[in-house]
């Protein structure tokens, strides 16, 4: 893909609520929003804490460790850029800090790999993973690699 040319992948458009998450990714950190009043994490980020109704929040760096909660293997028809890589996996990772904090990602075979290089037959719910960040059209996107036991 030529530098500067849109890759065809969908990239996030950070907004008032999500900006700090994506800023964290650019800094190589997986950050989660936490209520500044009661301290509970919440995801996806939003303006008000549903437990104490505070609108004050902070962002905490997570360990970047988690376990696979579920996964799919996507086959065509798909958007063109994704279809070129199909079949590829999409995973949901439950974070070690709080297993109800879950993020969507892909399981990579290597830190620089593409999303279709892990044999789907080897993916197991519950297996430990750690976050890595890959640049897509100038946005740092969190993905996951296996943690050696």
């Amino acid at each position: 893909m030529t530098a500067g040319t849109p890759s065809g992948f969908l990239v996030p458009q950070p907004d008032e609520d999500s900006g700090p998450f994506w800023d964290g990714c650019r800094a190589g950190e997986l950050r989660m929003q936490a209520c500044a009043s009661c301290g509970r994490h919440r995801f996806p980020p939003r303006p008000m804490c549903p437990w104490c109704r505070s609108t004050e929040s902070s962002w905490n760096r997570m360990s970047g460790r988690g376990t696979i909660w579920s996964f799919v293997v996507a086959h065509p028809p798909l958007l063109p850029a994704y279809q070129e890589l199909a079949p590829y996996n999409v995973v949901v990772v439950a974070l070690d800090e709080d297993p109800t904090l879950r993020v969507v990602g892909n399981l990579l075979a290597t830190e620089e790999g593409t999303i279709n290089e892990t044999d789907p037959a080897t993916i197991r719910i519950g297996e430990p993973v750690r976050v890595v960040f890959q640049a897509v059209d100038g946005v740092a996107v969190p993905r996951w690699v296996r943690v050696e036991p």
Binding site: V11, W69, H75, L79, V104
Partner: protein
């Protein structure tokens, strides 16, 4: 006693277009034809219509519909959101309006050329990734089937459900469609072997776990119970109606709360049964929203036909087919009759209590109809 809408209104007429991958005519024209057919079925003049309810995703609006069918002065109109979750609520909102004196003759409808038109997910734009899409789309979780496949894999992992259980759903709907001359899949049989050999769409879901892509329009007419008794057809009384939006729910991608597999069906069911004189044990036939086969398993648990996690084994042995404990989607449903955001399930629920289904359940005093699971939803109990 608290005021209630129980049995105070009824569906007096139903109408529909043909169903096909492609139909000629605009969605507006198809909508008008289905609505006029429903009114004719009831024996009510279009000029008497004074209420409309539809989906927020419906492209034909009440102003256009009213001036095409020659409606009179309209005093109630409402739309319900969340795609296929809104179907039963269109009828429910009309029932509430008629029962409370806001209107007399209500029409609910859905007209959609989903077969001819583009797949909605294919229009996902580079610059259009609002919450929650920015939390899913970048990684290739692009389509509704991907979103539900993620929950399905987790469901299979937690409760031991298998692809054979998903096939039970697909085969039941197809068997019912094979009895229905109006079904898109009327003359196309499906075997378990064909199901297992079909191509993947989003593992663990294969082609036959997905609903059809259909052009079609449907409508029904809601009036008071008294008025319905004077209409051409036996009334299908609106016995109970409920909507459901659970605490901390995330639409389609319910990955971010304590219990992602406890979907809107559970919330909706609690209110639905509380307002009813019947229990799941009294229900012999159900029309259950089926954009994807696993939604039926999740719904059977939510609406209380089996215990949590047991819908897979519950579906074994022909339970969901004609002659079984709970035949579902007796016209073929979205999987095998037509996918029109579940409105065909409403009309089939009416046919069951009228006794006119092509897969008629003998003692169908009550028919459950549900709308989309995995999104803010709604449900109806219709009774003879």
């Amino acid at each position: 006693m608290a005021p209630s809408i129980k049995d105070r209104t009824a569906i007096a007429g139903i109408g529909q277009s043909k169903f096909a991958k492609h139909l000629d005519g605009s969605e507006k024209r198809l909508a008008c034809e289905a609505i006029v057919a429903a009114l004719d079925d009831a024996g009510i003049s279009p000029s008497e219509v004074d209420a409309f309810a539809s989906y927020t995703m419906e492209a034909t609006d009440e102003v256009e519909i009213a001036k095409n069918i020659g409606a009179g002065d309209v005093t109630f109109f409402a739309q319900v959101g969340f795609g296929g979750g809104g179907g039963c609520a269109t009828v429910g909102h009309l029932a509430m309006a008629v029962a409370t004196g806001q209107a007399n003759v209500g029409v609910a409808w859905r007209s959609r050329k989903r077969g001819s038109g583009p797949r909605p997910w294919s229009l996902t734009g580079r610059g259009s990734l609002p919450t929650p899409a920015q939390w899913t789309r970048p990684w290739g979780l692009l389509r509704p089937v991907d979103e539900i496949a993620m929950l399905t894999r987790r469901y299979m992992h937690e409760f031991g459900a298998t692809r054979d259980h998903l096939a039970n759903v697909a085969l039941a709907c197809r068997a019912h469609a094979n009895r229905n001359p109006n079904a898109v899949m009327s003359d196309r049989t499906l075997t378990r072997e064909e199901y297992m050999a079909s191509r993947w769409i989003s593992e663990p879901l294969c082609l036959f776990d997905n609903c059809l892509e259909t052009d079609g329009a449907l409508a029904c007419v809601v009036v008071s119970a008294e008025r319905a008794r004077d209409c051409r057809r036996p009334p299908a009384y609106v016995h109970s109606f409920a909507q459901g939006l659970p605490s901390q729910h995330h639409t389609m991608v319910n990955y971010w709360n304590e219990d992602p597999l406890r979907g809107p069906a559970w919330t909706c069911a609690e209110r639905l049964w509380r307002n009813a004189d019947v229990t799941p044990a009294d229900v012999k036939v159900a029309q259950v929203y089926d954009a994807f086969t696993p939604l039926i398993l999740l719904s059977l648990e939510g609406y209380g036909f089996c215990r949590r996690g047991e819908a897979g084994p519950f579906s074994d042995g022909g339970t969901l087919e004609l002659g079984g404990r709970l035949p579902v989607n007796t016209s073929g449903g979205g999987l095998s009759e037509a996918y029109v955001h579940g409105f065909n399930l409403i009309n089939e629920g009416v046919r069951q209590v009228r006794g006119t289904s092509t897969a008629q359940v003998a003692d169908a005093e009550v028919s459950l109809v549900t709308s989309g699971e995995g999104v803010p939803t709604s449900a109806l109990l219709l009774r003879r």
